[in-house]
Amino acid sequence: MTDQADDAALREAYRELLDARAPRDRSACPAPESLLAVIEREGDEATRLGTLDHLMRCDACRRDFDLLRTAAASAREAEAAESAGEPPALHVVRGGGAPRRFPLRSLAVAAGLVIAVGVGMLSWPPGTRPPLLRGDEHTVVLLAPEPRADGGALLRWRAVPGAAAYRVEVFDANGRTVVADTVRDSTFVLPAGAVNQQLRWMVTALHGDGHEVHSRAERVGPE
């Protein structure tokens, strides 16, 4: 047996150990903030090693840790692109004053990234605003919602080539999800009960290979 195969056998056996430890009480697990301290390298090394030692014996904590470090690393990488010298994408203009530079630089130039480029406002009822949002092949194009006789709304979007399904999400002004569903068609009926307040809706095209294409979040509901 080679050293490599030997290590593979050891790892496989260790995997068995981890599986055998579930389920377990989490009261002895480190606090979520301790996991963040490891990621941010805060506190003394011995404490961080102790936390890591627990993580490597507790699958539930390791799942927590992987979630947290994915969040941290993703945000850092997204922010790093900003400081990499990319030109600013947006300016926020207040009143008639000088343009205010938006601190998040354009993320559009990075290859393979999804950018929502639609402009204009979609509102309820349809017809009072431009009904079609501009987009490109990297964007799910939302169409103007159609009111239904029962008081609900028909949400529609342009089909994305190759999409296996679409995730429809509708959330209120506080960011709470009102409706979330996955459909195969490029329409979704928002029930009457949900259309009594100002909402935002967005659609994500789901491809079989895990690739996703997002729409903008647009408004639907009473003015």
């Binding site: 260790y14 055998a20 090693l49 926020v92």
Partner: protein, 182 residues
């Protein structure tokens, strides 16, 4: 709705799209499940929109995404732990006693001899080297260990080498040789 608001909302959407794209890559790197990945993106999406709608922010500060993403993940973890504790509360006391046992006896009985010997061997190696050895056995390489601890890869490799040497020595003392692992 002002043009300014609309401009900011487009910026948030762009940020979210970029963040979601990066998360997809990083989640694969860190072996995060698709469900956890989606939960994270959704939670960050909600928080950014909430900031726009409720806090009436004018622009996103440079570190806003990092703070938002990490606090969203912390909240997801707390929620997950609370849900799990709730489910434990609903269990029959006899079931609960089983649940808090470190290892499930039935599963333990099915553990391979090698797994049991590894468990014992790790407890015998110096405490300072156990985390590195456990990380390696859990699938982490020396570069990732170094990154997590803020060590150079050379230092991580050196500590790992010593830790694994300890482990192999303990295993050999327990009668486990490389050829007997098959």
């Amino acid at each position: 709705m002002t043009a300014e608001h609309d401009t900011l909302s487009r910026a948030i959407e762009s940020t979210l799209a970029r963040f979601a794209g990066v998360v997809r890559v990083v989640a694969t790197r860190y072996r995060l499940s698709p469900a956890d990945r989606d939960d994270l993106v959704q939670e960050v999406r909600v928080r950014l929109w909430r900031a726009l709608e409720r806090e009436r922010i004018e622009a996103l500060p440079a570190s806003y995404l990092y703070r938002t993403a990490t606090s969203a993940a912390l909240d997801l973890i707390r929620r997950r732990r609370t849900t799990r504790e709730d489910s434990l509360d609903e269990m029959d006391p006899s079931e609960l006693r089983l649940a808090v046992t470190t290892a499930n006896p039935e599963q333990r009985a099915q553990l391979s001899d090698l797994a049991l010997r590894i468990e014992r061997a790790i407890e015998l190696i110096p405490e300072s080297r156990r985390p590195v050895v456990r990380m390696y056995l859990a699938g982490y390489g020396s570069a990732e260990i170094g990154e997590l601890m803020g060590w150079t890869e050379a230092k991580a490799r050196n500590l790992l080498y010593r830790g694994l040497a300890d482990l192999r020595q303990r295993l050999e003392e327990a009668g486990v040789t490389p050829s007997s692992h098959d």
